[in-house]
Symmetry: C2
Subunit: 406 residues, 2 copies
Amino acid sequence: MAAQSAPTASVGDASGSVGVVQPSFITFNNPLPLTSGQVLPSYELAVETYGTLNEQRSNAVLVCHALNASHHVAGVYEGQAKSEGWWDNMVGPGKALDTDRFFVIGVNNLGSCFGSTGPASLRPGTERPWGADFPVVTVEDWVQAQARLADHFGIEKFAAVMGGSLGGMQAMCWAIDHPERVGHCIVVASTARLSAQNIAFNEVARRAIISDPDFHGGHYYEHGVVPRHGLSVARMIGHITYLSDDDMAVKFGRTQRAPAENGEFHYGYGVEFEVESYLRYQGEKFSTYFDANTYLLITRALDYFDPARRHGGDLARALQAAQAKFLLVSFTTDWRFPPVRSREIVQALLKNQRPVSYAEIDAPHGHDAFLLEDRRYHAVVQGYYDQIALELGLPARQRVTGVLAS
Amino acid sequence: MAAQSAPTASVGDASGSVGVVQPSFITFNNPLPLTSGQVLPSYELAVETYGTLNEQRSNAVLVCHALNASHHVAGVYEGQAKSEGWWDNMVGPGKALDTDRFFVIGVNNLGSCFGSTGPASLRPGTERPWGADFPVVTVEDWVQAQARLADHFGIEKFAAVMGGSLGGMQAMCWAIDHPERVGHCIVVASTARLSAQNIAFNEVARRAIISDPDFHGGHYYEHGVVPRHGLSVARMIGHITYLSDDDMAVKFGRTQRAPAENGEFHYGYGVEFEVESYLRYQGEKFSTYFDANTYLLITRALDYFDPARRHGGDLARALQAAQAKFLLVSFTTDWRFPPVRSREIVQALLKNQRPVSYAEIDAPHGHDAFLLEDRRYHAVVQGYYDQIALELGLPARQRVTGVLAS
C-alpha cells in the first residue's frame, strides 16, 4: 500500500479544538469475508483524521466508536452549529489524546448509517437498498475492515487503538486478532462479553423495532416509512441503561414537567414527570436520524462479541496472543458494564503477564461517563498517552487544553 | 355493617395448602370519589378469603397485590392444574402467614383485569367497555375501596395489612390513611416512592403499548384486537427489572438456545440465546392474558405513589399519623426497590418513634425474591406473625408447614 497523508485537513486552535473537519469516503473493492460466512462484495468507509501522520508512521491512533456514534470523533463541520464530534473533549490539540503529536483516525463501522456501507446503502447490482439482507457483521469483521483501512494509510502498527463501550471491544479485538499491529490498547467502560442482562435489554429493543408494523421485515425503505415508534422505544430503553440511578435522581428526581394549576398531577398517561419528557424527546429525536436495521445489527454485534468463546470461555487464553500494553478504565456507577467487567479483563491480562494499567473512576454518570468531561478520567488518559509519546520518541506535549487546562 | 363470615370456603390439609378455593364478587353501589377528582359510580371487587374470622374479628389480615397479581393469593382452583395462588408459599395452614389462626383476605384492585371492575368492564349505562375512559386510580383509591371491603366484613381493625412491591405501598398507605384500623403494617420489597429510573422503565413500557397501532387509543376492545406486541415488550422490560443481573447470569448466562450444527451462531435476529427465548416467551404469554389498559393504570399508580409529597417531601412527617407497628423486609439483590429504599422508610419510622423491625435478606433473586421460597425470609415473617398472634391472644401455632418445615 502506498503511503498517504491525512485525507482531511486538521486546523488546530488555541482552544484545543481540531477545528473544521470533513469526512473522506474510501472505497474498498476487494470482497470482505465475514464471520457469518457471507461475503461483502465491496464497501465504502467514512473516515475522519486529525493531526499529522509522522514520517515513521508511528504516531497513528485508531478511535473506535460505540453504538450510535461515527467517524466524526472531533472537530466541527463547516457552518453547522453544535456539530462537535462525539469525543471532542478527549481528542484535539493539547487534549488527553493530543493531535499536536498523534495522528488520529475515526472510522464509521460497516453496517452503520452515518456514511459507511450499511443496510440503507444500495445493494451492488440492484437499484434497492440492502435493507434486511445486509449481512450481520461482528466486531471481528469491523476490525478486519479497519485493518484494511490501516493498510490504505500505510500504517503498519498503531501507537494505540482506543475505544469506549463497544469501541473498547474493537480495541480488544485488535489486540487479539492483529497483535503485531497494536502498540497500546485502551479499553474504556467496556466488557469482554455481554451479560445475560445486557443481551436481554438488547433483545427487548430489537423486539420493539421488529414488531413495529412499519418495520416491514427490514424492507421499510421501499415502503417510504421508518419504524419510528419501535426505534424510539429501543432508544429509551438504551438510554436508561446509559445513566446511573443516582444520576437520574439528581437530574430528574420526581420533578413534574408541567403540573396542573394547583401543582397537582393530571392523572392521565401524558407526560407528568421530567424524566418522561426527557426520554420521549431522546427517543423521538433518535428515531429521526438513526436507521432501524443498523440498530439491530449493532446490538447483535454486541451480543456476539466473546473472544473467550473459542477458548472454552477462558479469557486469559483468548488474550494470550496479545502483544500490546493495556489501559483499562471503568466508572463506579456504570451498571451496564460495571467495573467488575473491566477487572475480569485486567485479571486475564495479568495471568498472561501483559503490562496493564487500570483506573476505576469514581464518577456519578453511569455508562455515559466515558463520553463526559471528568478531570480524573482525562488525566489518566492523558498521562497514558504522554507515556506512549515518550516510548515512541514523539515530540513533547506543547500545550494542555480541555478539562485538564481549566 | 353486619358481621359476615368468609365468603369462600377454606379447606386446610396437612401439606400446608388452603386447598380448593373460589372467589367471591362483591358489588359496591356507593360511588367512590377518586384522587383524580373523578367518581367511580359503582364497582365490584373480586375477593378470596382463607381461614376463619374469629368472633372478636381481631384476626383479619389483608394481603395487597402487586402489578400482575390478583385476589387469588393462596390455594388452587377446582380442576385447574398449576393454579396455585401467587403467595401460596407464604399463606396457608402452618405457613408463615398461618390460616389456622388468621383470617386472610385477598382482593383484586380496581382497574385490574382479573375480576374487579376495570377498563375491560362494561361502563355503567352503556353497552361498551370503559376502555381508555376508565379513571386513573391511585394507591390511595385502592386503599379506600379496600376499607369499604373491610366494612363489608365487619372488620374494624386488621391484625395486619401486608404486601410486597406495589402491595407494600398499599400497606403503607393503609397505615397513613387509616391509622386506627391497622395493627401491623408489613412492607416487603417496596419503596415510599419510585425513583426517576423506576418511572423511566414504566414510561418506556407505556410507550410500547400506546404506540402499538392495535392500541387504538385504549379502545381496542371494540376493534377486536389487543396491542399484544406493545404489551409483550412492556412485560419483557418489566421482567428484566424483576431479576438480578447475577440471577440472570446463573439462570441463562450466554447459553445458546439452539446452536447451528457446528455449535456456531446463526448470525441473524432470531433467538440465539436462552435469555432471549425466555423473555420472548414471558412477553408473549403475558400479552395473552393481561389487559393493556390495566398495565397503563397500574404503572401509573406506582408512579404517583408518594405519601411524602403532601408533606414537603418529608417521609417522617407523612408517617407521623401511623399507629401501626411495622415490619420491613428487603432483598440485597433487588435493584428495582433496593434495600436503601426500605431503610429510608425505617429511618422515617424511627424518627416518629414507631416500633419497626427490619430484615435485609441476602437473596440472589432480585425483586422477584419477595414471591419466592426463602427460609430466612419466611422465618422472619413467621416470627413476626407469631408475635402478632401472641399480642392478640390468638391460639398457639398448631403446625409448621411450607419452606420452614422442610
